[in-house]
Amino acid sequence: MSVLRHAARVAWKDLRIELRSKEIVYTMAFFGALIVVVYSFAFPVKPDLVRAAVPGMLWVAIAFAGTVGLGRAFDRERENDTMRALLLAPIPRLAVFLGKAAAISLLVLLVALVCAPLLALLLDVDLFAMPAELLLLLVLGAIGFANVGSVFAATLLKVRSRDVLLPVILYPILIPLFVAGTSATEAMIAVKPDLDKLWYWIGFLGIYDAVFLVLSMWVFEALVIE
């Protein structure tokens, strides 16, 4: 269990730095809010139209703000080459991956929790009809995003064009996750909520997260070592 202990140490270090500067949280949350506001101007606010469009808005906002936060979180490890220090430490490299992914999951979840109420407020949709299910959905989405995101952001650390390559790599892999999140949210806020559909997509996300977590754990070390 030393893997988990060290992973917690790595994650806690990230969170402590973030708690001190709050840079990523504030900018990510603001960026997410901006996207939401831009959306509310980009589409006519009509009840049935909004109901159809809000799930997509929520998940696209998560995707964009998440990518920005992910890039910045790994920029921090690049500044003084501290990623090398982590990989050099006598802890399983798996722990480095798990720690980073856990910290980033939390950040992404936080942004989702800023965007969702804002969408509900500005566009007057009842996103919180099923709060527990929505939270579960957002948690699963954040974990999946952070997990795939951490693997590739860590590998891209020394690549010059990492900022453009990060979405180029991430989004094709993450499309099923975003579609699942959107479809589940849709089922949740429909006039007549479709529970079968909702749980199908939550299950889909659960399996997606599990499969890619295993894959990430398996290839992380091979990817980050030059």
């Binding site: 001190r20 090398r84 220090a85 050099l88 006598p90 802890i91």
Partner: protein, 236 residues
Amino acid sequence: MGALDKVEIKKLTKRYGTERALGGVNLELAAGKMTALLGHNGAGKTTLLGIVSTLVRATDGTVTYVSSGAPVEGEHVRRQIGMLAHSSLCYAELSAVENLALTAGLYEVDGSPEAITAMLDRVGLEPKARDRAARTYSRGMLQRLALARALLTKPSLVLLDEPFTGLDRGGALALGEQLGILRDAGAIVVVVTHDLEAIAGRTDHVAILRRGQLVFEERGSYSYEQLKDVYHRFAN
């Protein structure tokens, strides 16, 4: 698993895409010896240190780490490595004390305030800076912190990549002294540097790389003049 006695580098080759950084280097590093690794810019010194530090994977060839007569690998090797590179490997947002505490936690060594203070005293980081975020440090202060970080874990394989850059004359001398202490305590010390003066008289082993190949290797102590002479004869 304890200290490393020997590192054997055999036929080490590294390619970055189409470029060859190392082409079949053989080298043996022994406990209690300080090796100076010299060569022009782009000769492959940093790459060699990267592979020895397990952060870069060789395209071909092997590095064998020996501890009490038996080969070791993975975390046991990393536990023994102390690294001092261009960059400080310390978090800019954390203070010196916090950085060292984090390192102590990851390496599971004594991270008590007393131990950390003693280490910071040893490298000469001024007391009033110790609780400030490292981003406010000058280049030399950061380098001292980096040295403290490397020494804290009591490494037996110390890899230094141009450790003298940014240090004032006094700092460079003090660093040279610390390396001497480590070497005398039985560590394997490898220094990559262009500052021949700083290592003159301290090395037991000189190796020169040229375009990824080992072109000169000699054991024994070298004075500044001798170092300069072999460098000019072989590095070009």
